[in-house]
């Protein structure tokens, strides 16, 4: 079974992406732009992120939406 940790709720958007990036942009970051490993890691990941998303996922969400009990949707 899946459990989502309660602590996750405490994460705010403020702590997200931006802050981490800024911290890491500082020199001396072992995975920063001066690191070959860091650069390759981002290249590897960016390639995956930019992959075209198959239609099945949009279809899945539409199906989930249609399967919902008829209630008002905001």
């Amino acid at each position: 079974m899946l459990e989502i940790k309660g602590d996750m709720k405490d994460m705010t958007k403020d702590t997200m992406a931006g802050a981490a990036d800024r911290r890491r942009a500082a020199s001396g970051d072992p995975l920063g732009p001066n690191s070959e490993i860091g650069r390759k890691l981002k290249q590897y990941y960016d390639e995956l992120v930019s992959d075209n998303v198959p239609d099945r996922f949009a279809q899945l969400l539409s199906q989930l939406e249609q399967a919902e009990p008829a209630q008002k949707k905001d």
């Binding site: 899946l2 405490d10 994460m11 705010t12 981490a20 939406e65």
Partner: protein, 183 residues
């Protein structure tokens, strides 16, 4: 159960590229990764009420995906990651040419890492999470994430035959690599 809002649905759709990238990083297999993303979306939909608007949706979704990945692994009993042998074929790593590591070699090296180290270095070095966020996602201490990232980095350097970047700095590294090729 309250209806899922359009905003939530839109955010889910927008998260799919990141979820797929993380799933591929974990499973090292495109088909398994997409199945994992599908499971994650269904679970997120069912549990949407436990998500608090304004908090980090990406981290919430990554947590679901990761939990799903490990629960599937437990169910199946740990199968060997590289069942096809496709990955192994890529593992012959040659010294980098022109100071540039080949992405294929890098992928091969990443595959050799234990899952816990691979996910840590991906979350920190590629997905843009902080150490604190990565610790939340993995359900472990910040120090554990730090040591996993550090071990992952050391191991990648060993596999890829990159000398310690700490000691020499990037300029010395590129000089070294290009120098060895020129010789």
């Amino acid at each position: 159960m309250a209806a899922v809002s359009q905003g939530f649905k839109t955010d889910l759709l927008g998260s799919i590229p990141s979820l797929r990238a993380f799933a591929v990083s974990l499973t090292q297999n495109a088909d398994k990764a997409d199945d994992l993303v599908q499971e994650t979306l269904v679970k997120a939909w069912d549990k949407h009420e436990s998500f608090q608007p304004g908090t980090n949706l990406k981290a919430w979704l990554f947590t679901i995906l990761r939990n799903e990945f490990y629960s599937q692994m437990r169910k199946r009993g740990r199968e060997v990651q590289d069942s096809d042998g496709i990955m192994t074929a890529r593992l012959a790593v040659h010294p980098a040419q022109h100071g540039q590591l080949d992405l294929k070699d890098f992928r091969g090296a990443l595959e050799q890492l234990p899952e816990d180290q691979r996910e840590a270095i991906i979350l920190i070095g590629a997905s843009g999470f902080s150490y604190e966020e990565a610790a939340e996602i993995c359900g472990c201490a910040v120090g554990t994430i730090k040591s996993r990232v550090s071990r992952a980095r050391t191991r990648l350097q060993e596999i890829l035959k990159i000398s310690g970047e700490d000691e020499y700095g990037p300029d010395a590294i590129s000089a070294q690599v290009t120098g060895s090729n020129a010789a």
